[in-house]
């Protein structure tokens, strides 16, 4: 049908049709850029610890499975310790929330999953995290293990080479809030104020298992 119309159309009709086709593709999420972002957002929304199968290693060297986290509320976020701006900021924000939660923070586990397993080996994570709230645990693994785990959360990350041969990482920056049932409860954005973030965490804490 579309091809038929195209053959019949003059330049104006062709342009109008092109627009309509683009619009149609946009509405159905068929454009490459949109497909990417939509599926990432959709995968994040559908994140379910109970359905995940990855295995990682904690900053203390212990094996960690997503099933270990069921039955309690969890905060999970992604980053790398070579990042001097966003990552300290996120760690400090989370420290604030934990303080604000008071004794309720005891019912919450907090995990930083590195997107830079090459440099963030367990000892390096432990060394770095010792400067922040001790409730924040670090997770790493082989590059393949990390890629698998990170994909299960719908998180995207990308290695960006620098001209001097070094590199930095682009990565999804929000904090995932999981309820005790393992399902994603809310996301907290980088710039959210504690007044907005803490109620989201409380909501997950008070959720039925």
């Amino acid at each position: 049908m579309r091809r038929h119309t195209l053959i019949l159309g003059g330049t104006g009709l062709f342009a109008a049709l092109g627009f309509m086709l683009t619009l149609g593709a946009w509405q159905s999420g068929d454009l490459p850029w949109q497909e990417k972002t939509t599926s990432s957002a959709a995968r994040i929304r559908a994140a379910d610890l109970g359905a995940m199968t990855w295995q990682l290693t904690s900053h203390e060297g212990a094996p960690v499975n997503p099933q270990d986290w069921l039955g309690q509320a969890n905060l999970v976020f992604f980053g790398f310790t070579w990042c001097p701006d966003v990552c300290p900021m996120t760690l400090l924000n989370i420290s604030d929330w934990l303080e604000e939660l008071g004794p309720d923070a005891d019912r919450l586990a907090v995990h930083l999953v590195t997107v830079d397993p090459e440099r963030d080996i367990p000892e390096v994570l432990a060394d770095y995290l010792s400067n922040f709230n001790p409730r924040i645990a670090g997770l790493t693994g082989t590059p393949v293990e990390v890629a698998r785990a990170v994909a299960a959360f719908g998180v995207t990350y990308r290695r960006v080479p620098r001209e001097d041969g070094d590199y930095t990482m682009d990565h999804t920056s929000g904090v995932f809030v999981f309820g005790p049932d393992g399902r994603l409860s809310r996301m907290i954005d980088l710039h959210e104020k504690p007044q907005a973030a803490v109620p989201k965490i409380r909501q997950a804490l008070n959720q039925e298992e």
Binding site: W82, P84, N131, F132, S173
Partner: protein
């Protein structure tokens, strides 16, 4: 010059209360620059960060085009940007300092990225950073190294 700064550092270390109360402020042309700070680093492998507040008291716009410091082989201006929830930090070729406005390099936005560190940055120390402006020229400011947990300059970023 370097030796004077280092000597000054020793004194600041002896008088921590004084160091906390006084942040360097430098004026040149229409610009006044203050509240320069960085975070302590673990070793030299990771890049360090540089934050500062720049006030343009004049009636013409200026631009920060680069930074130089002896502590890092590759200092660069960066901007943390969020695209579809993904954080990245591209190189900022210049940062506008509009007439009559105050611009801060602050966590989560513009920052100086001090790559290829020559030395570990230790809490309580300070080091000079030279800022290059299109109109005001080069301005050097003493930068305080704060704890890794610091969120803002110890002297307050606003007057």
């Amino acid at each position: 010059m370097m030796k004077q700064i280092i000597a000054g550092l020793g004194l600041a270390a002896l008088l921590p209360a004084l160091a906390l109360a006084e942040c360097a402020e430098v004026s040149q042309g229409d610009l006044s620059i203050r509240a320069a700070w960085s975070r302590a680093t673990i070793g030299t492998a990771r890049p360090a960060v540089f934050y500062v507040t720049i006030q343009n008291n004049g009636s013409t716009d200026d631009r920060l085009t680069g930074i130089e410091t002896s502590v890092a082989g590759m200092p660069m201006l960066h901007e943390t940007v969020m695209t579809d929830g993904v954080a990245s930090m591209p190189h900022a070729t210049a940062i506008d300092i509009p007439a009559g406005e105050t611009v801060s390099l602050a966590p989560g936005g513009f920052h100086g990225m001090l790559m290829d560190l020559e030395e570990e940055l230790k809490e309580g120390e300070s080091f000079p950073v030279a800022l290059q402006f299109e109109k005001a020229g080069e301005v050097s400011i003493d930068t305080e190294v704060l704890p890794i947990r610091a969120r803002e300059a110890a002297c307050g970023a606003t007057p």
